[in-house]
Amino acid sequence: MDSPTGGRPIIALRGVSKTYKRDTIEVPVLAQLDLDVAEGEFLALMGPSGSGKSTILNLVSGIDSPTAGRVVVAGVDLGSLDQAALAAFRARHVGFIFQSYNLIPVLTAFQNVELPLLLTGLDRRQRKQHVLDVLGIVGLHGRSEHYPRQLSGGQEQRVAIARAIVSDPSLLVADEPTGDLDAASATEILDLLGRLNREFGKSVVMVTHDPRAAERAHRVLHLDKGVLVESVQRDRP
């Protein structure tokens, strides 16, 4: 399974179709789609609204399953996993970054970031160390006791990114991570994602409508009417 940029694939979609059923009407979204993403790659997905970008993210992160085809992520065939195994797979391999952050409002930044670690065997002290480490990486060292409503949008998204990386997953999936942010905050978030990709070797798949955001990626794919078209290919440093 070679990918266009070389290296081992973190994601391999083979003949993937997805059809939604609304009552009796079938809505085909993806048909016979193939996609490879190499380990350490930063991929941007663009395309018109409703073209199925989020659907692809849902499939590779194991929160939705294809109507047909195979989804292999980090060497695991997701079709073979049951509910509990898929949950364990997500905890281990996938970091989610959402457009609207999705932090838990009654928890502090620290507690939000700690959530994924509650599922691990780490003790309290170890968890604290990890949380403070990643809050440092996203530049929010002094904010650990703040609640989401006490933070700016950009800061909230950085807390969300800290939460996504705290359990050290290999893959980050980001659905329009800068969609709700002003230009300055958006730049900060994109810088941060780029850094996580370069310095920490995270593979990133990012859906975006913003061409400037897409510029950060090694590769930009356009999804339209169920077909993926490659538009940009940059060399990886």
Partner: protein
């Protein structure tokens, strides 16, 4: 699992007012439950102290009918019966109908000897025998109204019309604290005299030589008076009191019905709260699941939250009932000898709280488990 505790606490306190109100309704209902159940256990415990060594003989038709005082001699001759003494329910009113306590006109010569568990000095017993208008009162009654020896007590007769004056000649002290002392006894000859020597009495108390033969002797007594003008029904003091209590209406059934209604009503309230709380957090639950929380963990969190609320409510409600009734000396105006919330009642209240927590957490937990992450995250993305 302790690592989830801060999360559960924060979630529970998210909507403080709603949580507090729900807990409050649980506190009130479980307090009521404990109170109602204590009515039952208190009545039952008063029966425990009733003797099986004594039989009560009354008219078979109804307690309100009387029988000839002359039965006494025939009763006393039945083998196994050591002695017999009459006692008649007087049913007078002291100042006001609300001041309810039991009054009996009793055999002045034999009655006191049959109840050695109520302590009186020989002088007091002697005065009671000699003085026509003498009365003896129990310790609790004396405390309640501040009666002292030599005081005059006036009763208004309801069954036996007229104004009746008595002088307190003794205050009976109970040998054990669980004995009822909320009563007044007076010389039965006084009643007989004022009723123009009518020679009727309400019941007889029989003292037995051998309590284990109570059943046999009761049958012999009733056979003795079968086919007479006044047939009798004889049973142990304990059975008699039980019958007397059930005469007051089927209290137990009423109490159980009330208790169940309360539990069901509060169950619906807390169920509603849990459902509302969970519905508001559909998205959060989806996020947790996306982060890798599996269905079991999510179900556990939802149930833990609902159990936390109901158990705190139960603990406060049951604990409050225990404290209040322990320290207030509540006796229901003397109706109960003692009104104490038992450990069994506390355990039952906590069992109900546990049950309510599970039941009201069940639907939200089931929804959380079934929730599809993509559907919950799709809207207002």
């Amino acid at each position: 699992m302790t690592r989830f505790v801060p999360f559960i606490l924060r979630s529970t306190l998210r909507n403080k007012r709603r949580t507090v109100l729900t807990i409050l309704s649980l506190v009130i209902s479980l307090f009521l439950f404990c109170t109602l159940r204590t009515v039952i256990t208190s009545l039952a415990s008063s029966l425990e102290s009733a003797s099986t060594a004594r039989l009560i003989t009354r008219r078979s038709t109804s307690l309100t009918f009387m029988m000839p005082a002359s039965y006494r001699d025939r009763l006393a001759q039945i083998p196994g019966v050591e002695d017999a003494a009459y006692m008649t329910w007087f049913g007078g009113v002291y100042i006001d109908e609300r001041n309810f306590f039991a009054q009996f006109a009793v055999d002045p010569v034999r009655y006191l000897a049959m109840y050695p568990e109520y302590r009186l000095t020989p002088e007091e017993k002697d005065t009671f025998r000699r003085e026509r208008t003498a009365c003896i009162i129990g310790e609790k009654l004396a405390q309640k109204y501040g009666f002292k020896k030599g005081d005059r007590i006036t009763l208004r007769g309801t069954i036996f019309q007229g104004i009746w004056d008595f002088t307190v000649c003794g205050i009976a002290l109970p040998a054990t604290p669980d004995l009822d002392t909320n009563w007044l006894l007076f010389n039965g000859e006084y009643l007989n005299q004022r009723m123009d020597d009518f020679g009727q009495v309400g019941t007889f108390v029989l003292k037995l030589k051998d309590p284990s033969r109570a059943g046999d002797i009761a049958r012999i007594v009733d056979a003795t008076f079968a086919n007479s003008a006044a047939e009798t029904k004889t049973e142990t003091e304990k059975a008699f009191q039980l019958g007397f209590i059930s005469m007051l209406g089927n209290i137990q059934a009423v109490i159980y019905a009330l208790g169940s209604a309360i539990v069901i009503a509060i169950g619906l309230v807390s169920m509603n709260t849990m459902m509302m709380a969970a519905r508001e957090r559909t998205r959060e639950i989806a996020v947790l699941k996306a982060l890798g929380f599996n269905d079991r963990t999510v179900v556990g969190l939802v149930l833990a939250e609902s159990l936390l609320i109901t158990l705190v409510g139960g603990l406060l409600g049951a604990g409050l009932a225990r404290l209040v009734f322990t320290f207030s000396n509540f006796t229901g105006g003397g109706f109960f000898q003692q009104f104490r919330v038992t450990d069994g009642t506390l355990a039952q209240a906590m069992g109900i709280a546990l049950f309510l927590g599970l039941v009201s957490g069940l639907a939200p937990a089931w929804n959380a488990a079934r929730l599809r992450i993509v559907d919950a995250l799709r809207h207002s993305g």
